[in-house]
């Protein structure tokens, strides 16, 4: 260690260090232009000149390359130093008068005009570029010439192919003199960012995306200079913790496992092969994935809607559907990709929201396939309220106006009129496909793929591959959306857990939390994290202003702004800040506690704080999103919401969290395919399960069905399933039984069933609701008046009985959407298109001479069902479209039944005499009200049960311990019902496999001394959680069973003496917020 004087003060540093390094460390900044931490210092720019006193005399040295020695005295800030630097700057300014960095330096020394002759150079000959190129292991450039002719150049003054175009020289050049294009023969282009679909560049060292797990940078071996030349390694000089190891090799890790789940996903179709769409040639033709990035706050344009060619905001955007789907001419994808209609509508709606002025959004489609839960409503809203245009036409080609880069579409509308429209941007709704690498992986694993390169599975075994013990979920099985993928993921887990049940828990490690810090004697030290949520909050609310205001609030000791407070790196950071700043209350001003409270509370626990020391201010869902046009008011409201949260945070206290035991049994309601699947899933995992069925037999709606769309005989599989259920040692089946009463809570339910007048009560830890749904009985098309008008299920029955009336007819007409997609039931019943087409094919097979007409609104044979649609057309089934305002009419004259429908292509009404009319009738929910009331479950507007989260928690209810499966959730085909039922079993087993559960701490409590035993709270409690307990002195007092208490606080309001109160929401805490809100 060497000691010397720096600006009059003693400083210490290691031998071998230079003055500049040490001065930086001690905060005495020395200006420099040619210094780089990773390069040998050269003292070229002379700007770092300092004064050195060696005990005898004073002289000037360059700080960057002058090594320190003991006893020397350095002055970096004296009048003499500044005089020398001023002269150096003046000389540089004379040489390069137009270089911004030099102009700034000159301005700093008040030099308006140099005293020397001005040149117009922009290179200060610092040689940084040359030194860094050498460091790269390359030396493609050097300083050539002599005297006044010296300059940075390549050999023979020509572009060189030795240069790798790595860009290091340009990136270090202080003046901007170096132009990579002058040096290299290679094409200079940024490394395309995979995450941003190539719309943005990235570095060879990069974090794949902001929320990546683990959130650590990776080195791209194929782009890193070190792996090309052996040079560089500059990153190691900058990494403060020596985390970079270039010698790491790929390694093969062998794991012994009992089951494998394949969830590798899909790749978006590359539309390059659609030559007529000009995707490669026209900059403003983008794929839907690229458009997702354009709309994203973390995307290439920070969420501003702009087009690639010129960065202008487009006024007109077109979406072209079915690119790489439903097409065997330009690609070999006969299937429908299932998700594109919905995402295109979503993109159009969001684009309209993002646009600063009115955006014309047009979707060109063949059939709109919004068959998922609540999708049809979204489509209707996009069309009728948001004004997205939907045009039924498949676009053949796109041409471009080469001056403006606008795009010209020609299309025929439904009347057959040719139109031409100019759009400023075109989004190609690309389909989903299996990447080649996955096909190879499947071959390597000997897993059977189907003709579309998706994993072959069975209707009754939707997540099992052809290889035992290997399961699949998500789009590798068939293109599908998020909720269905999530269901399949849990279903695959269910199957895997069944075969691994004996090993359950054997490798579990309990998460250890640090000991809770006792904050009871501390004053509140509140930390506030204000989230931008990308641009969701920051685009509307002035977050810096809000953060500044928050700093002034009482008790607040720390405030920080985040791009995404919920990201993993922010959580790590938050934990450190809590510890470092000694915070004992944390507020996150972001989205809603309903979705994010638990995440932040976990971070508090990791930092040793009780989770109840946390509070949220909802400045997104209840502020920026609902006041998006009133930015100032939204900013003020955010301040108010944070002030309210701070007021409350002063008062909140840590709370204990008691535990309760779990009854490891399950109860499944509904004995159809879904109910039986859940029951078997649970029993196979080793949990005793009660199956309650209302009718006298198991099977549900499937009893009436003949074949799945894949051609499996349903009766055979059903029989096998019933037998397995009835014979399973862990399953108790109760038919002819209804649910009479239900009490309890997760882990400890009590359900009373009624069987022929006799009641039985079961104790169990989890419930699965799989009560199914029923077929709508139509009130139109002469249904019920004429025997030849049947519903789909009635047709199946008739076919089963080989009814000649059905099979011998000459003309059969199917009418789709009977009772679906209308004002009364604005949802799609999902299965009817496939069912009608499948039935039509069956009828054709039995009676090839039969003429079959299918009257439809959109054909929704999503996924690989599309093949059935293609086959039906091949076999001559006639499809005629109708619209809701011009529905077909059925007439009967004598014994002749006929259907009248407007044919759009002919432009006139046509009459079809029909021997048989099949109504594809809607699936409607059962009367679910009483069951919903008993278990306190929500129903949606249509009467189906409502899951906790439409995308991410599709089989769970918001009420813990209760799960959902099958068509009680929403209409769906058998394979999806089975996947959902297995998922429900899987999620239920998460509860049942635990020995005990933790109860929330925010429960009510009764102060026994103040309680006079009046029993008002017992009456008020909706959860039967309070009872009166006799005390020794003959009086009684109320007692709260914490496990039953939901913390509603009704007791606290009912209590006349103030004995009952509620933790975490007591009177003071609520009133503090009222007061703060009105301040």
């Amino acid at each position: 260690m060497i000691t010397f004087k720096l600006n009059g003060k003693d400083v210490q540093a290691e031998e071998g260090e230079f003055i500049l390094q040490v001065a930086d460390k001690y905060g005495a900044g020395i200006p420099t232009l040619c210094h780089h931490k990773a390069l040998e210092p050269a003292g070229m720019c002379r700007l770092c000149t300092v004064e050195l006193f060696d005990g005898r005399r004073t002289r000037f040295v360059t700080a960057c390359n002058y090594p320190i020695w003991a006893g020397m005295e350095v002055n970096t800030d004296s009048e003499a130093v500044h005089q020398v630097r001023r002269l150096i700057v003046e000389l540089l300014f004379a040489r390069c008068p137009d270089v911004p960095v030099i102009k700034e330096l000159a301005a700093g020394y008040n030099i308006e005009e140099p005293r020397f002759k001005k040149k117009d150079d922009d290179c200060i000959l610092c040689g940084l570029c040359v030194r860094i190129c050498e460091k790269m292991g390359n030396s493609a450039i050097t300083l050539t010439g002599r005297g006044v002719d010296i300059k940075v150049d390549t050999p023979f003054h020509e572009q060189t192919d030795i240069c790798m175009a790595c860009g290091a020289c340009a990136s270090v050049c202080p003046t901007g003199h170096i132009k990579l294009e002058d040096i290299t023969k290679h094409v200079v282009k940024p490394i395309p960012s995979e995450y941003d679909m190539g719309l943005k560049g990235r570095k060879p060292i990069y974090v794949p995306y902001a929320q990546a797990i683990p959130n650590k940078p990776a080195i791209d071996r194929s782009k890193c200079v070190h792996f090309k030349t052996g040079g560089c390694k500059i990153c190691t000089e900058f990494c403060g913790v020596n985390a970079i190891d270039h010698s790491q090799e790929d390694e093969t890790v062998e794991l012994n496992v009992g089951a494998i789940i394949l969830a590798p996903g899909f790749q978006p179709f590359n539309p390059k092969q659609y030559e007529t769409y000009g995707y490669s040639a026209y900059p403003n033709v983008v794929t839907s994935m690229e458009f997702e990035r354009i709309l994203s706050a973390t995307g290439p344009y920070q969420g501003h809607l702009q087009r690639p060619s010129d960065g202008e905001a487009p006024d007109k955007i077109a979406w072209l559907q079915c690119v790489g789907s439903r097409d065997i001419n330009r690609c070999d994808h006969s299937y429908c990709s299932s998700v594109c209609c919905m995402y295109a509508i979503k993109e159009a709606v969001i684009a309209k929201e993002h646009a600063e002025h009115d955006l014309d959004a047009a979707v060109f489609f063949m059939d709109i396939r919004t068959y998922g839960k609540d999708f049809e409503r979204y489509y209707n809203r996009a069309k009728n309220e948001q004004g997205v245009r939907f045009i039924r036409s498949r676009i053949h080609s796109i041409s471009e106006d080469s001056d403006t880069h606008d795009l010209i579409l020609q299309y025929a509308d439904e009347e057959g009129t040719l139109n031409e429209e100019v759009f400023e941007m075109v989004v190609l709704s690309v389909g989903l496909e299996t990447p080649k690498a996955l096909v190879e992986m499947a071959h390597g694993m000997e897993i059977e793929l189907d003709e579309d390169a998706f994993v072959r599975t069975g209707t009754f075994t939707p997540v099992e591959t052809s290889k035992k013990g290997v399961y699949v979920c998500g789009a590798f099985q068939e293109p599908k959306d998020i909720p269905y993928s999530v269901m399949e993921a849990s279903a695959a887990a269910c199957d895997a857990k069944a075969i691994l049940s004996s090993a359950r828990g054997s490798l579990v490690k309990d998460k250890a939390y640090p000991k809770e810090i006792d904050v009871s004697s501390q004053k509140p030290r509140i930390g506030v994290f204000v989230c931008n949520c990308g641009t969701n909050i920051g685009g509307i609310v002035d977050v810096p202003q809000v953060a500044e205001y928050t700093r002034s609030l009482p008790g607040v000791t720390y405030v920080e702004e985040n791009l995404f407070t919920c990201s993993q790196d922010t959580q790590d950071n938050m934990k450190e800040i809590i510890e470092h700043e000694g915070l004992n209350r944390v507020i996150v001003a972001a989205c809603t506690p309903r979705t994010h409270e638990a995440l932040f509370q976990e971070t508090l626990r990791d930092a040793g704080l009780n989770k109840y020391l946390f509070e949220m201010a909802n400045i997104r869902n209840q502020c920026s999103w609902v006041h998006s046009k009133e930015k100032e008011e939204a900013t003020d409201k955010s301040k108010d919401l944070i002030r309210m949260a701070v007021a409350r945070a002063q008062l909140i206290q840590p709370l204990p969290q008691p535990t309760i035991s779990v009854d490891k049994k399950a109860l499944v309601i509904g004995g159809g395919i879904s109910g039986m699947t859940s029951t078997l899933g649970l029993a196979d995992q080793g949990f005793h399960t009660y199956l309650i069925e209302e009718s006298d037999r198991l099977g549900g709606n499937a009893i009436n069905l003949i074949e799945t769309w894949r051609g499996d005989r349903i009766a055979d599989s059903l029989k096998e399933m019933v037998l397995k259920t009835e014979e399973h040692p862990l399953i108790e089946v109760h038919t002819k039984s209804t649910i009479k009463d239900a009490t309890g809570f997760v882990g400890n339910f009590e359900t009373t069933i009624s069987h022929e007048g006799a009641d039985t009560t079961f104790k169990h830890g989890a419930v699965v609701i799989a009560v199914g749904a029923r077929e709508h009985k139509p009130t139109e098309y002469l249904y019920g008046e004429n025997d030849s008008v049947l519903t789909s299920l009635e047709l199946d029955k008739a076919l089963k009985n080989e009814d000649k009336k059905v099979t011998n007819g000459k003309n059969t007409v199917f009418v789709q959407c009977v009772g679906s997609r209308d004002s009364e039931r604005p949802y799609c019943s999902k299965v009817c298109c496939t069912h009608s087409i499948k039935s039509a094919l069956e009828l054709k097979e039995m009676n090839p001479d039969m003429d079959i007409y299918i009257l439809y609104r959109d054909i929704r044979t999503y996924g690989q069902r599309e093949e059935l649609y293609r086959e039906a057309r091949r076999q001559g089934v006639i499809f005629i479209r109708y619209s809701l305002d011009r529905k077909p009419e059925v007439e009967q004259e004598g014994s002749v039944l006929s259907v009248i429908i407007r044919d759009y292509i002919l432009g006139r009404d046509i009459r079809i005499e029909a021997d048989l009319i099949v109504l594809a009738s809607a699936i409607v929910p059962r009367d679910n009200e009483s069951l919903a009331r008993l278990y306190k479950l929500p129903l949606n507007e249509d009467g189906f049960f409502m899951e906790a989260h439409a995308k991410l928690r599709p089989v769970e209810f918001a009420t813990e311990g209760i799960f959902l499966a099958g068509i009680a959730h929403y209409p769906k085909p058998i394979e999806e019902s089975i996947a959902q039922a297995k998922a429900a079993a899987s999620r239920a087993s998460v509860v049942l496999s635990k020995e005990q559960l933790t109860v929330e701490g925010a429960v009510s409590h009764v102060n026994e001394i103040m309680c006079r035993g009046c029993g008002k709270c017992v009456e008020a409690c909706p959860f039967n959680a309070i009872e009166l307990v006799e005390k020794e002195d003959d009086k009684s007092a109320a007692y709260v069973q914490e496990a039953l208490c939901k913390g509603c606080g009704s007791c606290a309001v009912a209590c006349p003496t103030g004995a009952a109160s509620i933790f975490h929401f007591d009177d003071q805490e609520v009133l503090a917020m009222v007061e703060a809100a009105l301040n």
């Binding site: 979705t595 209840q622 999103w625 609902v626 509603c1048 309001v1053 929401f1065 009177d1067 609520v1070």
Partner: protein, 67 residues
């Protein structure tokens, strides 16, 4: 009275329904006037009449109990 009346409204919202409905209004981007301040409670049954009176006493022009 040239200024437009801008009422201060205090809303007590039940965590399980009204509060999540207010969240859903956000997700759906429904727009409403920025004059309301929502206070989350675990149930509308938690609302002591005293809270309402205190709000008025503090200067609120309206109180909404939603649950």
């Amino acid at each position: 009275m040239s200024q437009e009346f801008s009422p201060k409204i205090i809303t007590f919202a039940c965590n399980w329904c009204a509060y999540s409905a207010a969240d859903l209004a956000g997700v759906s981007r429904f727009q409403y006037p920025p004059t309301m301040r929502i206070i989350r409670v675990m149930c509308s049954g938690r609302i002591n009449p005293n809270f309402v009176l205190k709000a008025f006493q503090g200067g609120a022009d309206g109180v909404l109990v939603a649950g």
